[in-house]
Symmetry: C2
C-alpha cells in the first residue's frame, strides 16, 4: 500500500472572475502544501465559476478560461507550489468541426492536472446533465478521455460530477481499468435531503470503481443555486472516511492508504457501457512512494439538522447574491407578518443587521400589531428602520383613476413596491422580496407590488416551513451567522393569523385553504408533478384539487416575473420548472 495526503479545496468561486478565482487557487494550494498534502483537488469549473450558461458559447470566454488555466500553472510554480499536483475544473474546447446540433465552439466542462508549472493533462465531463436546472447538452460536448496518473506509486483517476450520477461512463471504466483512487470535482447544488443521496451514491460508485473516492464539491450562492459543500471521502468498500462541513468554505485534508499501481503507461480504449468508448490515458507523474508517516485522524463534520440546513442555504444564498453582485446593503418592507420578519432575519444573518434597511409602510387597513411587531423586530435585531405611510400616495392615485376591489388592493401593494424601488435606486440597496412559495404557487401576490425586488430569499419556502424556520432560528444559530440576538423574531409574528391587510379584516384563509392543507397539496402537485387523478387518489379533496390546480396554473406569468431566490426543493419556480405562459391544459378538465 501507498500513502497519500489529499486536500479537498471546498471553495466558493465567482462566475466570470478569472483573476479572483485564480488568486484563490494559489492561496488554497498554498494552504494545502503547508499541511503537507500530496494532491490538491478543486471543484468543477472552479476557474470560470459554475454555471456560466451562454457565456460558454462565446469564443472569447473559452479562450479566457484556457488562458487562465495555463497562467494558473505558471503562477503556482512561481509561488513555489509547482511540486504540488493540483486538479482543477475550467472550460476548454474539443476542437470539433462545427455542425448543426453541436454547441458552438464545442466547449468542454473540463478538468486539468497542473504540476511543475505545466498543464500535465486535460479531460472533460462525459455525462452531461440536462434535467432540473441543468442544460448541459446546450453547452458542452462529451469528454471521452479518462486520465489515470501515478502519484507516489498510486494510480489516480479523474472524473467530473455527473459522471457519478449516471450509469456507465468513467466510473465503469475505472472499474475495468483499475485505479487506486478516483477524484471527482463537483458543482452539485443543494436540495433538501440531497446529502444523504450523495453519500450513498459515492459509496456505490466507489465499490463500482473498486477504489477510494474523493468527492470535492463547491460551496456558495450563484443566482438561484446554492452549493452546499458537504465534500466526501469514501473508501473502496464505500465506507465514509471524511466529510467537510456544509455551506462553508473548507480545506478538508485526509490521509489515505491506497494500493500501488502496476499497470503500464499508455492509451487504451474501453467500452464505457453507455454506447460510447472512453480512452484511458495512463501516465506517471511520480512513482516513488511517500515515506511512511503517521496519518492524522480524519475529520467528519457533523450534519446540520433538516431545518437548520435549509436556513443555512437561504443565508448563504442571500450573502453571495449581495456580495457577488456588488451590493453593500439591502432593503425590504417589514409588515409585522412572518414572511418579512423571517426575510429580515435571514438578511441580518447573511450580511449583518447594520446593512439591513427595513421600511414600515402602514396603510388604512394595517392593524396596530403590524407596526408594533415590526418595531419589536427592529429593536431585537438593530436593523435600520423608517416608517413611510402609503395612504396619501394611494389617494393621489385614486384621484386620477377610478379603481376598486382587487385593483385597489393591488395598488397598495404596488405603492409599497415602488417606495422600495425608489429607495433602492436612491441609496443603492438591493431590494429583497419577501413572498413565500405558497403565495407564489397560488398567485397570491401582486405583480410589481410585493413581488418587486432583486432577490427573494424565501420564494422556495412553503408557508408552513416559514413558521418552522422562524421557530428554528429563535432557538438555534451557526457561528457564521452575522446576527447575534436571542430570539430575533417576535413571537407574535410567528403565532398570529396571516393576513395581507389590503382590505378591512382580510385573512389569507378568505382566499386560500389553511396552509397545512394547501402546502401538502402543493408539494404533491408542484414537486411531484402528480396529475389530478393521482392527487385525489392520494387523499386530497377533489374540489380543492380543482381549485388549487387552477390557481397554480394561471399564476405562471407572475412567477416568471418573480426575482430569483435560493433553491431548496426540486421545483423552486426557477429554471427547474419551465412551463408555457400560453397554456390551456388543465389537469382537472
Amino acid at each position: 500500500m501507498g500513502q497519500l495526503r489529499i486536500a479537498l479545496a471546498q471553495t466558493n468561486p465567482v462566475v466570470g472572475d478569472f483573476a479572483a478565482n485564480t488568486a484563490k487557487l494559489i492561496e488554497w494550494s498554498r494552504r494545502a502544501a503547508s499541511q503537507g498534502a500530496h494532491l490538491a483537488v478543486f471543484t468543477e469549473m472552479f476557474l470560470t465559476g459554475y454555471p456560466v450558461e451562454d457565456l460558454v458559447l462565446r469564443a472569447s470566454f473559452v479562450e479566457a478560461s484556457i488562458a487562465a488555466l495555463e497562467s494558473a500553472a505558471t503562477e503556482l510554480a512561481e509561488a513555489g507550489l509547482g511540486s504540488l499536483p493540483v486538479v482543477v475544473g475550467y472550460v476548454d474546447r474539443a476542437g470539433l468541426a462545427p455542425r448543426v446540433g453541436q454547441p458552438k465552439g464545442a466547449p468542454l466542462d473540463a478538468v486539468a492536472l497542473l504540476h511543475e508549472g505545466r498543464v500535465v493533462t486535460r479531460s472533460a465531463k462525459h455525462h452531461l446533465p440536462n434535467y432540473g436546472v441543468f442544460d448541459e447538452y446546450r453547452y458542452f460536448v462529451r469528454g471521452d478521455r479518462l486520465p489515470i496518473f501515478r502519484l507516489h506509486g498510486v494510480d489516480v483517476a479523474i472524473a467530473v460530477c455527473e459522471d457519478l450520477w449516471q450509469q456507465g461512463g468513467p466510473v465503469s471504466v475505472v472499474g475495468q481499468a483499475g485505479a487506486g483512487l478516483l477524484v471527482v470535482p463537483n458543482a452539485s447544488p443543494y436540495e433538501r435531503e440531497k446529502d444523504d443521496v450523495r453519500l450513498e451514491l459515492c459509496a456505490e460508485r466507489a465499490r463500482e470503481a473498486g477504489c477510494a473516492l474523493v468527492y470535492c464539491n463547491a460551496v456558495g450562492g450563484q443566482d438561484e443555486l446554492v452549493f452546499d459543500g458537504d465534500s466526501i471521502v469514501v473508501s473502496a468498500t464505500g465506507d465514509l472516511v471524511a466529510r467537510a462541513g456544509q455551506f462553508q468554505e473548507e480545506l478538508l485534508v485526509v490521509d489515505l492508504d491506497l494500493p500501488e499501481g502496476t499497470a503500464e503507461p499508455g492509451q487504451t480504449p474501453f467500452d464505457a457501457g453507455d454506447g460510447s468508448m472512453i480512452t484511458v490515458d495512463r501516465f506517471v507523474l511520480t512513482s516513488e512512494p511517500v515515506p511512511a508517516y503517521t496519518p492524522d485522524p480524519p475529520a467528519i463534520a457533523p450534519r446540520m439538522d433538516d431545518i437548520g440546513e435549509v436556513y443555512a442555504a437561504l443565508v448563504l444564498g442571500v450573502r453571495d447574491y449581495v456580495a457577488k453582485n456588488g451590493f453593500e446593503s439591502v432593503i425590504l418592507g417589514l409588515s409585522g407578518g412572518i414572511d418579512s420578519a423571517l426575510t429580515a432575519t435571514i438578511a441580518s444573518d447573511a450580511i449583518g443587521p447594520s446593512r439591513v434597511n427595513v421600511i414600515l409602510m402602514p396603510s388604512r387597513y394595517s392593524s396596530d400589531h403590524s407596526i408594533t411587531d415590526a418595531e419589536e423586530l427592529v429593536r431585537r435585531q438593530g436593523v435600520t428602520s423608517q416608517i413611510v405611510p402609503v395612504g396619501d400616495i394611494v389617494e393621489a392615485f385614486e384621484k386620477e383613476i377610478s379603481i376598486s376591489g382587487l385593483a385597489a388592493e393591488n395598488l397598495q401593494a404596488r405603492v409599497r413596491g415602488m417606495l422600495l424601488m425608489s429607495l433602492s435606486n436612491q441609496h443603492g440597496h438591493l431590494v429583497l422580496t419577501t413572498g413565500n412559495k405558497s403565495e407564489l404557487a397560488t398567485g397570491y401576490s401582486t405583480l410589481y407590488g410585493d413581488s418587486a425586488g432583486g432577490y427573494a430569499p424565501i420564494k422556495d419556502v412553503l408557508k408552513t416551513m416559514v413558521w418552522e424556520l422562524s421557530r428554528w432560528r429563535n432557538s438555534n444559530s451557526y457561528d457564521w451567522f452575522m446576527l447575534d440576538a436571542a430570539e430575533p423574531i417576535p413571537a407574535n409574528s410567528i403565532t398570529k393569523e396571516p393576513s395581507a391587510e389590503l382590505r378591512p379584516d382580510q385573512r389569507d384563509t378568505d382566499s386560500l385553504p389553511p396552509y397545512e392543507i394547501l402546502d401538502r397539496l402543493l408539494d404533491d402537485y408542484v414537486e411531484k408533478d402528480m396529475g389530478s387523478a393521482e392527487l385525489i387518489a392520494a387523499g386530497h379533496d377533489p374540489a380543492l384539487v380543482a381549485r388549487v390546480i387552477r390557481l397554480v396554473d394561471i399564476a405562471e406569468y407572475k412567477r416568471r416575473q418573480y426575482p430569483p431566490g435560493p433553491k431548496i426543493t426540486p421545483k423552486n419556480f426557477g429554471r427547474d420548472r419551465r412551463l408555457p405562459i400560453t397554456n390551456r391544459w388543465r389537469e382537472t378538465l
Copy 2:
C-alpha cells in the same frame, strides 16, 4: 409514375387545448377531403401544440395526448373521413425503463398516421434540437423508427422537423431505403431571413433522400415564438413546386407525380450515419394507383419583403398572445414617441382599434408634441384614449421620501407603469410594454416602470428598425390586418428626436450613442456573440465597445424581468440567450 394530391394543413394549434386542436383536425381534414386530397399532413405536435415545455414531463399530459390521438382517429371515421389518411404530430412515450439523465416518462415528439378509424403507425423525431430556444434533450428521447407506407402505389416516408436540419438520421435512411415522397411535419419558428434557409434546406434534403419533400409548418404565436407557416413542397431534384403564404393558416393542396414503390413490406434496420440505427418499417396502406387525372396548377405564394415579414410576425404574435390567453383588449401608454406609436399600431392591426386602449400620461417634463402627436394617432386609428396626468401622484411620493436624480426619473416611469397595471386589473386589459431592443439591450428602461406589462411587441426590434417598420406600415398593409387607416402613424412621431422626457430637455443621446451606431454594435455583440477584440477589428470604436458591453452586461437582471415578446432575431433576450445575473465576466477587462 403515380399521382397523389397532398393537402398541407398549415394550421395554428393552441398549447394544451386538445379539444380545440382535435376539432380543427377534423375540420381541416374535411376541407382536404372535399378538395380530393389523398393525404392530409398536419404539423409537428399539432394535437398538443408546440412547445409544451415541462408539461411533457407529466404522465397525465402524455396520457391525454395519446388519448386525444386515438380519439381523433375515431372521430375522423365517424365524420366520414376515415378513408383520408392523415399524418399528425402529438406526444407519445417510448416505454423505456427510467434512468438518471433520461427525461421522466421517456416522451417522444411523435407523429402518427390515422386511417379508417385506426392509428396505423407511430414514429417520432430522431434529431432533437437543443440550442437557441430549443431544449429537447430535456423533454424527449430519440425516435428510432422510420415508417414508409404505400399510398396508392407510392411509398411515403415520415420524418419530423429537426430531422431535416441535422446530418444523418431519417433523411439519410430514406436515401438508402428509397421512397417516392418524404412528408415532414414541422413547428419551426420565424426568424428574419429564415425562409430562404428553409427552402435551400428542403431542396438539399430532397436530393439527399432522392424523392419529393413536403414540408408542412405550423403558424401562430406561442409566447415568444411566432410560427410563420411558409410551408414548402419541392421535387426530388430540389425544385420548388408549391409554397404556402406566411403568417396565415392555409390549406395548401398540391398534385404530385411520384414514382411507384416496389420494395417488399417488412422491417429493416439501417445505419443512420450518426452513430445510431434506424429501423425502416414498410407497409401497404393502399396499393391501387389513383386513376389518372389532370393536376391543378400548383400555388406558389409570393414572399413578403423583409420589413413587411417582421411587421407581420409582430402582429401575429400580439394577436395570438391576446386570444390564446383569453384577453379581450389591450392597454398601453402612448407618449407621442415612436415606440408606443408603433406598438399601438401593431395592436390595432392585431385585434382591431376598438379593443386598443391608450393612456396619455403627461408629466411636468412632457413636451407639447408628446400630447398632440399621441392625440393625432388616436384620431387616425380610432383607438380608445384617456389622459391621466402623473404630476400629483409623483408629488405624493416625493412628500413621503426624499429622492433625486435617476431615482426621481424612474419614479415617473413607475407611476405610469402602476397606472397601466391598475387599469389592467380593473378592466381586464392586457398591458402591452412598448420598449424596443436597443433600450432593452443597454438597460435604458425602468424596472417596473416602462418595462411593466404582459407582452412586449417590439422587444426584439432595434430602434433603427422601429423607424423602418413605422415607415413601412405607413405605406403598406396586408389584408389580414384589422386596422384600416391611411398612414396610421403621425409623421412627427417618426421624425422627431427620441427622448424619455423624464427630466428637462432630456435626449436619448445624452445617455446613448446615436442609434445608427449603437444598433450596429448591438447586432455584432448580441446576435453574433463577438468578443471585444472582434468588435474592434470589425471597426467599432474601442471606447464605445467598452461602454456598450458594460451597459449590456449589467442590464441582465432587467431583461430577465421583461415581458415576453415576439422573436424575430437569433437573440431576442428570451430563452434563446441565457446568462447568469451574477457574472463578473466583462469582455473588455
